[in-house]
């Protein structure tokens, strides 16, 4: 099992990212303690040269980290035929205790690595390393998560046993079950629809307001973050059932399969992308006051807000289209 090409790719990528993040975190602690742009000391100049190299390498590896979330889900889906009872990625992830944990940590890493990439891109456009301390302090916060992800993922793949009988997604996301997943799937569809569309309209309105008036970055970020959570809950509660045309099937993974045109991938990319970009608009807001970023940050925020809005629209179009064409009618 461990020699499956996708698993080797994931483990290799994870080790690479983990090694560089830990190295960069150690370097970052030096930056936090010793960075002094006014000094012309040998150490300061060495730090200036090194941060350029490290942040460039880290950018590529964090981009890989973003992709690895989808590769992980794809892999979990591809290997499900090896396990008795598994019908999709949900079954594969339930084979041992580390599958779901890895997925959750990977989602958190996706968002944090994405935010770091945005911070780094903005910092690189400032002439005096304006966010250098912020981005390395943030990296120190991400490092334990990346380490946990590497360990969890390795344990998950190493402990996969093909003869294990696992649960299928119908059981895992059965609204009458007693698990967290089933409780989430059991969220009532009609109220969730209202919550979802109200959240969507409010978030989009805040984004448009920000683009027009250049105000309300914090509000847009908060709404984007909460809409991300609402979107995931809505997928579990009512969106997925429109795809399956089965009111009792709430699996968030089956939509990633060929039978559903891999529609889950654009859905999750739009949801996560919109959430990430929306959050970043608010996170960047305090840095508008930094003199060397006074033009860079507003431009970056505009691009991010626009990207977030595109993500919201893409997701909304997919959902509404499916609700219209689906043979399922939820009452």
């Amino acid at each position: 099992m461990i020699f499956h090409p996708l698993i080797i790719a994931l483990l290799g990528a994870s080790l690479l990212v983990c090694f560089l993040v830990l190295y960069a975190a150690a370097f970052g602690s030096q930056i936090l303690r010793r960075w002094d742009l006014k000094s012309g000391s040998e150490l300061q100049l060495a730090l200036e040269r090194k941060t350029y190299l490290i942040s460039t390498l880290l950018s590529y590896l964090f981009a890989l980290e973003l992709l690895s979330l989808f590769l992980f889900i794809f892999t979990a889906d591809r290997i499900h035929p090896f396990f008795i009872g598994a019908m999709c990625a949900a079954g594969s992830l339930d084979v041992n205790g580390f599958g779901t944990a890895t997925l959750l940590v990977k989602i958190a890493s996706f968002l944090l690595a994405g935010l770091w990439l945005i911070l780094n891109a903005v910092d690189n456009r400032g002439i005096d390393y304006p966010l250098i301390r912020t981005k390395y302090a943030f990296l120190l916060g991400i490092a334990p998560l990346v380490l946990a992800e590497t360990v969890f993922q390795a344990l998950y793949f190493l402990r996969l046993k093909p003869d294990i009988t696992t649960s299928c997604c119908s059981t895992l996301f059965d609204s009458s079950g007693g698990t967290i997943a089933s409780s989430l799937a059991a969220l009532p569809a009609q109220p969730m629809k209202v919550v979802f569309f109200v959240s969507l309209i409010l978030t989009a309105a805040a984004g448009i307001l920000f683009l027009i008036k250049r105000r309300g970055a914090g509000l847009f970020a908060v709404l984007s973050g909460s809409h991300l959570v609402v979107s995931v809950l809505s997928i579990l509660s009512f969106i997925s059932v429109y795809f399956y045309e089965l009111p009792t099937h709430h699996c968030p993974f089956c939509i990633l399969q060929k039978g559903y045109g891999y529609i889950g991938y654009p859905i999750y990319i739009a949801v996560l992308g919109a959430g990430l970009c929306g959050l970043a608009v608010g996170i960047l807001a305090p840095f508008r006051k930094v003199p060397s970023l006074s033009e860079v940050v507003p431009a970056a925020q505009r691009k991010l807000a626009l990207t977030a809005l595109i993500g919201l629209v893409v997701f909304a179009v997919i959902v509404v289209h499916r609700m219209i064409v689906s043979n399922l009618i939820l009452r």
Binding site: L37, G40, S41, E42, Q44, L45, E48, R49, Y52, N124, I127, D128, Y129
Partner: protein, 225 residues
């Protein structure tokens, strides 16, 4: 215009072949001034020019351009400053073979995004200024030493830099051409540009346009006046 503060450059630091090229150089270069850096081979002349021109970073110390610290700048900012501020005249010309003299002159301005027509006009005007307009279409490998040197100067000026940096510019020129070159550099100084020349050719140091001679030995300034 350009100020070096305690600039030090060490090659292969921490390795058995560690070499200290410059040690604690503090120097101020002004606009409308021609400075000659003199010193024997290995004294650090070329390293000093490279530091000033932003082509090499110091191991320690800082360099200020028009009051702005440039040593810490990430490469993408430094490239822009280098392009707009400095024109380089290299000892071996460093012209691109297989390409015409005109295109060689235009080359440093391509990244600016200026229209090709405007660029061509300016390049031809510069070639005319240095009496090599007739060679515009000729490939650079077919030019004589003097012609190649003039094309090099035209290329150094294509982005209208504030400072011209020349490394041993007379090394491959005879006396007549060397005198002509110094006259040309004198004209650039008169236009308000800072001219910095590294050379151990006495003919350069004795040129009337020279304002200041900095003596360099073993990576240290021995004399300045």
């Amino acid at each position: 215009m350009i100020e070096l503060f305690e600039a030090r450059k060490v090659y292969h630091a921490g390795e058995p072949n560690e070499f200290v090229a410059l040690q604690g150089i503090t120097l101020k270069l002004n606009a409308r001034e021609m400075t000659v850096i003199q010193g024997p081979s290995g004294s650090g002349k070329t390293t000093l020019l490279s530091l000033i021109g932003g082509m090499v970073r110091p191991t320690s110390g800082r360099i200020y351009l028009l009051g702005r610290e440039i040593t810490s700048l990430p490469e993408r900012f430094l490239t822009e400053i280098r392009r707009r501020t400095f024109g380089f005249i290299f000892q071996h010309f460093n012209l691109v073979r297989g390409v015409s003299a005109l295109e060689n002159v235009m080359l440093p301005a391509f990244p600016t995004g200026e229209s090709r027509a405007a660029l061509k006009k300016r390049a031809l005007s510069l070639l005319g200024l240095f009496d090599v307009a007739s060679k515009a279409a000729a490939r650079v490998e077919h030019l004589s030493g003097g012609e190649a040197q003039r094309v090099t100067i035209a290329r150094a000026l294509i982005n209208n830099p504030d400072a011209v940096i020349a490394d041993e510019p007379t090394a491959h020129l005879d006396t007549r051409l060397s005198c002509e070159l110094m006259e040309m550099l004198g004209r650039l100084k008169a236009e308000g540009k800072a001219v910095l020349i590294a050379s151990h050719d006495p003919l350069v140091a004795e040129a009337p346009a020279v304002d200041r001679i900095v003596q360099l030995r073993d990576g240290r300034i021995e004399g300045d006046g």
